[in-house]
Amino acid sequence: MTADSDLEALVRALIPAYLAARRDDCQRLETAIADRDHATIRDLGHRLAGSGASYGFPAISAVGSRLEAAAKLRDLASATRALRALATVLERAESSG
């Protein structure tokens, strides 16, 4: 079947679109925090936790878990800090790509 290097190339090709979609998530998270919409924060956090490391970005998964936990505790301050951390992680990922 496909060699490891081919598979890596395949996944690398998907990364720009993945990071762009996470930028959209930042916008949605900002709105959700402003609206105190804990359900949306939790859903987005859950998705980030599942997808980040799968794409090779464990830091995104870690932020996702923090967002999920903050939403469960209805802790908007923690959610805001996690959002800022996500923006930083995305900047680094985009500049290294």
């Binding site: 496909t2 599942g50 997808s51 980040g52 799968s54």
Partner: protein, 471 residues
């Protein structure tokens, strides 16, 4: 996303509401040569399964419309053998335990790793294909779900039945009267994921027009004079199973409209009722008429035709199943009786307008009339033994047949068609067995062949030995 079908390596249905995960999993699995179908929620997953049955499902445990475990339970009911791998980012052990108890084949924690995912899917697909092949071979060995046949046309029908049984699509069965359309419908039900549910059959030609609506949809108490209590209709009885509408072309136009609505909305009212009743059934319909012609003649609604004729099956007439006639004859023949060679020739020559049903009835008649353990042409019903085909079949002897090459050996009629060599050989063996009373040694001597050859040919042509003893 439509399925990228690559049946050679296996089709995988990926169910996840996160488009990024779907893209990544698709890339990983396509790199392994798998075909991919996708769905974003539980309802989409069930729709996809009805469209085309995959070899494996990757199912996220958290979906927007229902939980993955609920979807898994529905899949298990319809497709008990289909391996489902749960994907979960949940940390809770309880969720994983619930999924495994609901019948998950395996589970993979998120974040996912390509090698682990690919290996797990490979194993699941391999196991599913193996299980499917085993059950297919089991079926082929004994006909199909109790249906007896070995002709090429029937084997082709069995293959199509097998494919459609694995889905939930509506089936329309065509075939002349007596070909066994209901047997086909029952076999599809038994081979489907709905096999534990009810099989409810109704013959639309056999119910009085005035009672048909109540029969199909049921009625509430007091709905009409004589409706003393609530009655559950056939559509409702078929909940969780299969509804078989035989002779669907005979439904009147009003009922066709009501049935169409019930099929579209999956809900209906009992007569005299105002409450919605829903029923989850798979529809299998049958007709001996050409339904397209009924549509053109304005006797059948076109919209209902398209709703019913999603997957069409044609059950061949018995005269098109030459290889099956003697096989079926022996099935209907009581154990203490054998067929005379001339009867075998007659059975193969007669056109069987009433198909398998007529053959079964003929042997019921013959088993009463036959007196010495052998069914002769004269023991069959008059319409069969007096049929023009009977004269030719019972008088002709193999030695007088034209040879396959067209050179005639003692031919009485130069106009006779050339017979297949295999037919001539089969007749000669049948004659020898009959003349020698089943004495294998004597039959071998007369035919000029060895015992092993004779046994092989008896087996090939399905010829029974009178008395069944080796002598």
């Amino acid at each position: 996303m439509p399925a990228i079908d690559d049946r050679e390596n296996g089709l995988v249905l990926v169910v996840d509401d996160d488009p990024s995960m779907v893209l990544l999993i698709t890339a990983w699995l396509r790199a392994e040569g798998f075909g991919i179908d996708t769905a974003g929620d539980g309802a989409g997953c069930i729709d996809a399964l009805a469209r085309s049955l995959p070899d494996c499902v990757l199912l996220d445990i958290r979906l927007p419309d229902q939980s993955g475990v609920e979807v898994l339970t529905q899949i298990r009911q319809r497709h008990p053998r289909l391996p489902v791998i749960m994907l979960t980012a949940e940390k809770s052990v309880d969720t994983v335990v619930a999924a495994m108890q609901a019948g998950a084949w395996d589970y993979l924690p998120k974040p996912l790793e390509a090698p682990k995912l690919q290996a797990t899917v490979r194993n699941a697909v391999r196991q599913h294909r193996l299980a499917t092949r085993v059950s297919q071979l089991e079926r082929e060995a004994g006909g199909y779900e109790g249906m007896i046949a070995q002709s090429a046309t029937m084997r082709q029908l069995f293959r199509h039945m097998d494919r459609v049984a694995a889905t939930d699509v509506t089936v329309l069965i065509h075939g002349e009267s007596g070909t066994g359309k209901e047997l086909v419908a029952r076999a599809i039900h038994r081979a489907s994921g709905r096999c534990d549910g009810p099989f409810v059959a109704i013959n639309c030609a056999a119910i009085a027009e005035s009672l048909a609506a109540s029969e199909l949809f049921g009625h509430e108490r007091g709905a009409f004079t004589g409706a003393e209590q609530r009655r559950i209709g056939r559509l409702e009885q078929a909940d969780g199973g299969t509804l078989f509408l035989d002779e669907v072309a005979e439904l009147d136009m009003t009922l066709q409209a009501n049935l169409l609505r019930a099929l579209q909305e999956r809900r209906f009212h009992r007569l005299g009722g105002s409450q919605d009743v829903s029923s989850d059934f798979r529809l299998v319909a049958a007709t001996h008429r050409r339904l397209e012609e009924q549509v053109r003649a304005g006797r059948f609604r076109e919209d209902l035709f398209f709703r019913v004729a999603v997957f069409e099956l044609e059950v061949p007439a018995l005269r098109e199943r030459d290889d099956d006639i003697l096989l079926l004859a022996r099935h209907f023949l009581p154990a203490q009786l054998s067929l005379a060679a001339a009867t075998g020739r007659l059975l193969r020559a007669y056109p069987w307008p009433g198909n398998v049903r007529e053959l079964a009835n003929a042997f019921e008649h013959a088993s009463v009339v036959a007196t010495d353990g052998l069914v002769r042409p004269g023991d069959l019903p008059r319409r069969i033994r007096d049929h023009p085909s009977a004269m030719h079949a019972t008088v002709e002897a193999p030695a007088h047949e034209p040879s396959p090459a067209g050179t005639r050996i003692g031919s009485r009629s130069g106009a006779s068609p050339v017979r297949r060599l295999a037919d001539v050989e089969r007749d000669a063996i049948e004659d020898a067995m009959e003349r020698t009373g089943g004495n294998v040694s004597e039959a071998c001597r007369q035919l000029g062949i060895g015992r092993t050859t004779l046994y092989r040919k008896l087996e090939r042509y399905g010829i029974a030995r009178p008395g069944g003893e080796n002598r």
